[in-house]
């Protein structure tokens, strides 16, 4: 909303510089975005909040200024000399839909169409309205000045000189002033003649009754429309006009009287015509006088600082509120008709606060009542991020939206958006890896980057028969060299054991216990079937890890082997790992024995270790695979594995015979399982 300072000064003295005025209005809730100069005049560009329709005009702003600086607000000049036969003889008005139009006011004006005088044209241009001709300009001028929209019909083009205010018939057609042919719905209001609609109520007039050069007599309409009706009509028609913008936010029910009078006054003032005697006023659904109770003590109770009673009284009165006599601790406040946004005591407190000055209130901090902090699950989620950051991974954040087509059948079905921004972002992700992390990898490969180590923690959305479940999820992606490149070596490329190791290290470090992997009966389609596994934690499958399938890698133009993992976190985060309990340090020495074994390459390492553990007995504390070799001279289909067996007893030193006996049992067991012992 643009407000020229000269126009403002017509109604109130402004005792400060424009810059200061802008700051003061801003502090009081009328944010001045800019102060422009326009031919020597300062023009304030005010961002009026949606609730303050009363300030979407010069006079409303003038009222605020008068309270800010305690200066009188000059009334709008509304006097006029009426002439000719009574208006009611030239025009009849019937309101058939009080639920659409509580009040309809009309005047009949004899006019001489001509361009407006320069001062009107200048002001309109300053507030961003294109001048057309005096009668139309005046309706716009008055809307910008005191806020109430109005509309001029060429009376000669109103059939039977009769205006009927009713709901449109479904499918009723009308050409609006902008030349668009429109089909109306039954929840749109119209101002009609005896038959056809002449204009869309509160939104835009129609072409058939438009004022033109030949117009001699005007039927001037100013109404109070039901806000919801105008909002729905404007929405249905996809129209947003200056008029609908004001009506749908709740105009002043007294506005029609003042607006028609002001237009008639200005019409005579510029010598462009006269009003015929009488205001046609169909106030079919009178708005009640609205009041609210104000307990002055409540002001300090909400604000936390004192406001002198005299000050509060001055502010409210200046803004047009009527203060009843009331008790000492309770006053009945009459709310002005133009303040549809105010209805309760707290609204009155806000009025006092914003003019008293928020800067005058103290700064306090409320007393505490309990200890704050992160939930254990939140602390754990942080620890996961910090671990991965420390392990050299960079966190990324992808949009929660994905392209449904791009994610395709690779990952679980997705919930689709009803009103997406584009096909690229038309569904909620059901996986962090596909397409999110793959896309992030691609982005960086295109920049020539090879070593990429990423993670993301965020929610995926599981679509389940109409309901959508949000699942906190962790995903990891590794590609290219496993370490930063260095002059001393060519780092080995990341492989599937890097990603597995990260997850093992994570659960170990966070005290979450062991992580298992299991062959997956149905590996995700985008994983290499020979290099993937389900991830099992606490007996539950929580995700998977593996190498990206070569076909998918090719489709995504991935250069290096790409390793990924995705884990659903709810069960992990819900666990509350206990504080670690310290074990006493061993007092007796450990003994280690190495064992070289040749066995079928198909034997899973996990099973081999399990056999050894089982056969080794209680004093065998740990079994580690320290070497593994396939290829010549090891025969094809075989693998050579070296195990280190660690023996220890908490209560005594083990004898060589005891250890040897255990190793013997292990050797025997391995042989029974078909392995060959190559050295001990």
């Amino acid at each position: 909303m643009k407000v020229p300072l000269s126009w403002l000064r017509e109604f109130v003295d402004v005792p400060v510089e424009p810059r200061k005025l802008a700051d003061d209005l801003t502090a009081a809730g009328l944010a001045v975005d800019a102060v422009e100069t326009h031919g020597g005049d300062a023009v304030l560009d005010i961002d009026v909040t949606t609730n303050r329709v009363d300030c979407m005009n010069v006079y409303g702003v003038a009222r605020e200024v008068s309270v800010l600086y305690d200066r009188p607000l000059r009334p709008l000049e509304l006097t006029m000399q009426e002439a000719g036969p009574p208006a009611a003889e030239a025009l009849t008005v019937s309101v058939e839909a009080p639920d659409l139009c509580p009040r309809f006011c009309a005047r009949v004006l004899d006019v001489r169409l001509a361009p407006s005088p320069a001062w009107i044209r200048d002001r309109l241009e300053m507030v961003g309205v294109r001048p057309i001709a005096n009668v139309v300009d005046l309706t716009n001028y008055v809307m910008m000045e005191m806020g109430h929209p109005s509309h001029a019909f060429d009376l000669a083009k109103v059939p039977e000189a009769r205006l009927v205010i009713r709901w449109a018939r479904a499918g009723e057609r009308l050409t609006t002033l902008d030349g668009v042919h429109r089909t109306l719905t039954a929840r749109t209001g119209v101002v009609a003649g005896p038959q056809a609609a002449l204009g869309v109520a509160g939104v835009m007039g129609g072409a058939s009754s438009e004022v033109s050069e030949d117009t001699r007599v005007v039927a001037l309409e100013a109404a109070y429309w039901e806000p919801l009706a105008i909002r729905r009509a404007a929405k249905d028609l996809g129209m947003r006009t200056e008029a609908s913008h004001r009506f749908e936010r709740g105009a002043d029910p007294e506005g029609p009287v003042a607006a028609t009078a002001r237009i008639a006054h200005l019409l005579a003032k510029i010598g462009a015509g006269r009003a015929r005697p009488g205001l046609i006023d169909r106030y079919v659904a009178p708005r009640p006088v609205r009041t609210a109770l104000l307990r002055p003590r409540r002001i300090e109770h909400v604000l936390g600082g004192p406001v002198p009673g005299e000050s509060a009284r001055r502010i409210l009165t200046g803004l047009g509120f009527g203060l009843g006599p009331g008790e000492r601790d309770q006053v009945t406040v009459t709310i002005p008709t133009w303040r549809g946004d105010v209805s309760r005591e707290v609204d009155l407190v806000e009025e006092v606060a914003r003019h008293h000055g928020l800067d005058k209130l103290p700064f306090t901090i409320p007393p505490g009542y309990h200890v704050g902090g992160l939930e254990p699950s939140q602390a754990l989620e942080r620890a996961i991020r910090v671990y991965l950051e420390g392990a050299g991974l960079t966190e990324v954040i992808n949009y929660s939206f994905v392209s449904d087509a791009q994610a395709g059948r690779l990952v679980p079905p997705r919930a689709r958006l009803l009103n997406p921004l584009s096909d690229e972002l038309d569904a909620l992700r059901s996986s962090l890896v596909v397409p999110g992390l793959l896309r992030a990898l691609q982005t960086n490969l295109r920049q020539g980057r090879r070593d990429v180590r990423l993670f993301e923690v965020g929610r995926v959305f599981r679509a389940d028969r109409g309901a959508v479940e949000e699942v906190p999820t962790l995903a990891i992606l590794l590609a290219g060299p496993s370490r930063p490149v260095h002059w001393s070596e060519k780092p080995p490329p990341s492989d599937v054991f890097h990603v597995k190791g990260l997850l093992e290290g994570l659960t170990e470090r966070l005290g979450l216990g062991d992580l298992d992997t299991a062959g997956s009966a149905e590996p995700p389609a985008f994983l290499h079937p020979g290099q993937c596994a389900a991830v099992v934690w606490s007996g539950k499958r929580i995700g998977w890890l593996g190498a990206v399938h070569p076909d998918v890698a090719a489709a995504w133009e991935l250069r290096d082997e790409t390793l990924v993992a995705e884990l659903h976190l709810p069960t992990v985060l819900a666990s509350q790992p206990p504080a670690p309990r310290v074990r006493p340090l061993p007092r007796f020495p450990a003994v280690t024995r190495d064992l070289s074994v040749l066995c079928d390459a198909s034997v899973a390492a996990e099973r081999l270790v399990a056999w050894v553990r089982e056969a080794g007995g209680e004093s065998l504390r740990a079994v580690a695979i320290v070497d593994r070799y396939e290829g010549a001279p090891v025969p094809a289909g075989k693998v050579s594995v070296t195990l280190t067996l660690r023996y220890q007893d908490p209560a005594r030193t083990l004898t060589g015979d005891e250890v040897q006996a255990s190793v013997g049992r292990v050797v025997e067991e391995l042989r029974r399982r078909g392995a060959e012992i190559r050295g001990e």
């Binding site: 809730g29 909400v302 707290v346 992160l374 950051e389 992808n398 919930a415 992030a440 960086n444 929610r459």
Partner: protein, 359 residues
């Protein structure tokens, strides 16, 4: 058989010989060879001489023995000196060979980073946790009730113009939250210690904005809600100022101005003196000297009433409790702190951007 004189001559000659040999010894084995040659138990020259004394008269034998033993001891000392000298030389030469060029780059462990928005969110959370707040996680997929209706934005409310919301297919009315404020409602409904509330609710939000320099269809907010008896607008001011000073530094003034949000009354917009220019006016603050940093206000009694209605009893009596709420964009904070000029960079995941964030 040698006489005493001859032995003395021999000793003199041997001493000179040994000195020469040791001077010429260049490594440990040469020194050992000298020792073997003169002091070796079987064939050492000094040893042999000692053995030859047995034929001398007792007095001469004693004198010669004394001289020879002195020589032997002297030789041992010289051998030790030679060994030490050679050892030192060898060590020095080894240290020289082991020299490296330390102007070469070191071997750094792979350095990971938290996303700048995560790091910023953690900072915000830490400040509030220190002030006794809980951190409350709330769903991203919401319904109309929690996202709008309970927040005093019934259907057809003009304030909904301010929100342009994504809806999900399927006719359930499910939507993506356009702000973190529904977290207020969910917490109040499930409050473990009503009517006291002191929470922040961080998280992702979604609006139908085409991505550009300043808009992203997904962004992150932090919502704060404090409810209890006697909470005032002054408490809001004090808390917000303490928070902003903790985050940006106490040198930046904070400005409070009246505004409008349906779920707060009075509503207050909070500005921070421009951290780029200090308040003089610059490109970052569009010449105003102030940065809009957050929306806030006193909880609208209509919100308490909506929650009470859903609970079926008066838990948050607007006569007995008041509250304040505020919300700010995490991107906004990160943009200001790090001088990011394009909000889209946060979601493009280009490592050239992400790896610039250090702490």
């Amino acid at each position: 058989m040698l006489g005493l004189h001859e032995i003395r001559d021999k000793v003199r000659a041997l001493r000179a010989e040994i000195d020469r040999a040791l001077d010429e010894a260049r490594d440990g084995s040469a020194v050992q060879a000298v020792r073997d040659r003169y002091l070796g138990r079987k064939s050492g020259a000094v040893t042999a001489l000692l053995k030859s004394l047995s034929g001398l008269p007792e007095e001469a034998r004693r004198d010669a023995g004394r001289e020879l033993n002195a020589l032997k001891q002297e030789v041992e000392e010289r051998l030790e000196t030679a060994r030490r000298r050679i050892g030192e030389r060898e060590r020095e030469s080894r240290l020289g060979r082991e020299r490296v060029d330390l102007t070469l780059p070191g071997r750094r462990p792979a350095a990971g980073r938290l996303h700048p928005l995560t790091a910023t969110r953690h900072d915000l959370e830490d400040i509030f946790v220190a002030m006794g707040y809980e951190v409350y996680d709330s769903p991203e997929v919401e319904d109309d009730y929690h996202c709008f209706e309970a927040l005093n934005m019934p259907p057809d409310h003009p304030a909904r113009d301010m929100q342009d919301t994504f809806y999900l297919e399927g006719g359930s009315g499910a939507l993506l939250r356009s702000h973190t404020s529904p977290g207020q409602i969910r917490y109040m409904l499930a409050n473990p210690h009503p009517p006291q509330v002191r929470i922040i609710c961080p998280g992702k939000c979604y609006r139908r904005d085409e991505p550009d320099l300043t808009h992203s269809p997904m962004f992150q907010q932090v919502e704060a809600l404090v409810v209890g008896p006697g909470i005032t607008l002054a408490d809001l001011k004090g808390t917000v100022q303490a928070f902003l000073h903790a985050l940006f530094g106490p040198q930046y003034p904070v400005r409070f101005r009246s505004s409008f949000f349906p779920y707060t009354e009075p509503s207050v917009e909070v500005d921070l003196a421009c951290i780029a220019c200090g308040g003089g006016g610059c490109r970052v603050c569009k010449g105003t000297g102030w940065l809009e940093i957050m929306g806030s206000g006193m909880v609208n009694p209509a919100v308490f009433e909506a929650v009470n209605h859903r609970l079926g009893r008066v838990v948050y009596d607007p006569e007995a409790v008041t509250g304040f709420a505020f919300g700010l964009g995490i991107e906004r904070v990160a943009i200001l702190r790090h001088g990011v000029e394009d909000i889209r960079l946060f979601y493009e995941n280009d490592l050239r951007f992400l790896e610039q964030f250090r702490r």
